[in-house]
């Protein structure tokens, strides 16, 4: 089962992806698991992706499916994108669909 660490605060869900790779080997299970989490939460989601070192188009498809499962009014913010993950969002123009804050503002 894909490892996801969920921190539920009053205002939002913080989900840390503990997998190094979101690829075809886990994309379907990852999608189902994350969709369950965000649908149960019904609140804005912050996804911590700093540990994800590789994502392919099946992983991207899983992310898009989760975005579509969430009501449009609820933000899904992707934080800590590594270069390999950022590349896939950028090349497919999906960086315009997701809420991806610039790296410099993510320092805490």
């Amino acid at each position: 089962m894909p490892k996801l660490t969920v921190t539920d605060t009053e205002a939002q869900l913080l989900v840390a992806i503990e997998e190094a790779r979101i690829d075809a080997a886990i994309a379907t299970r990852f999608k189902d698991r994350l969709r369950d989490i965000v649908l149960r939460g019904r609140k804005p989601v912050r996804l911590d992706m700093r540990r994800v070192d590789f994502m392919d188009s099946s992983g991207l498809g899983a992310m898009i499916a989760v975005r579509k499962a969430l009501p449009e009014a609820l933000p899904l913010v992707l934080e800590g994108l590594t270069p390999n993950v950022e590349r896939v969002f950028r090349l497919t123009r999906m960086d315009t669909v997701f809420d991806i804050p610039p790296a410099a503002t993510q320092q805490e």
């Binding site: 590789f54 188009s57 579509k68 590349r87 896939v88 123009r93 669909v97």
Partner: protein
């Protein structure tokens, strides 16, 4: 054999001037085997190419090999194996992937754009060949007997 080569032969041969890693693997057309091959591949080339080139190479190969696993090798056609070979050349990382599954549809290699970005119904797939085409040079496909052969180069620096 020229004189110098004979001098370099023997139990302690002089190292060749340029030693570059290469990679060859026969693997099951299965996402877990693809993942393992890519992990090993990264270990092989990490010291020889930039992280950026490595990332592009890994993405392209993931897309190609997962396509083979999903479409070519799943219909009881062929052995369910594929062959992967990567060598470093002046122009970039030259890759060849062959398998004995069903034929690649011609549409895959036609120049293509992104799937339509309908904000109300976002596409969840259709990105694979777009990525492959965008990240490779000299992409070519041919059928040799019962085998699919796909070859391309991933440049060391992205031109576009």
């Amino acid at each position: 054999m020229p004189h110098t080569e004979r001098q370099n032969a023997g139990p302690a041969p002089r190292r060749a001037a340029r030693v570059q890693p290469m990679f060859h693997r026969v693997l099951q057309a299965d996402p877990r085997d693809v993942r393992q091959a890519l992990t090993d591949l990264r270990g092989r080339f990490a010291g020889a190419v930039s992280a950026d080139a490595m990332g592009r190479l890994e993405l392209v190969l993931a897309e190609v090999m997962n396509n083979v696993a999903e479409h070519a090798a799943t219909q009881g056609v062929g052995s369910g194996c594929m062959h992967l070979c990567i060598v470093m050349q002046d122009s970039g990382l030259s890759c060849a992937i062959t398998d004995d599954g069903s034929r690649l549809p011609a549409d895959c290699l036609k120049p293509r754009g992104l799937p339509a970005l309908d904000p109300l119904d976002l596409p969840e797939g259709g990105f694979g060949w777009f990525l492959i085409q965008g990240l490779t040079q000299s992409l070519c496909y041919y059928r040799e007997g019962h085998r699919n052969c796909l070859a391309f180069t991933v440049p060391y620096t992205q031109v576009s």
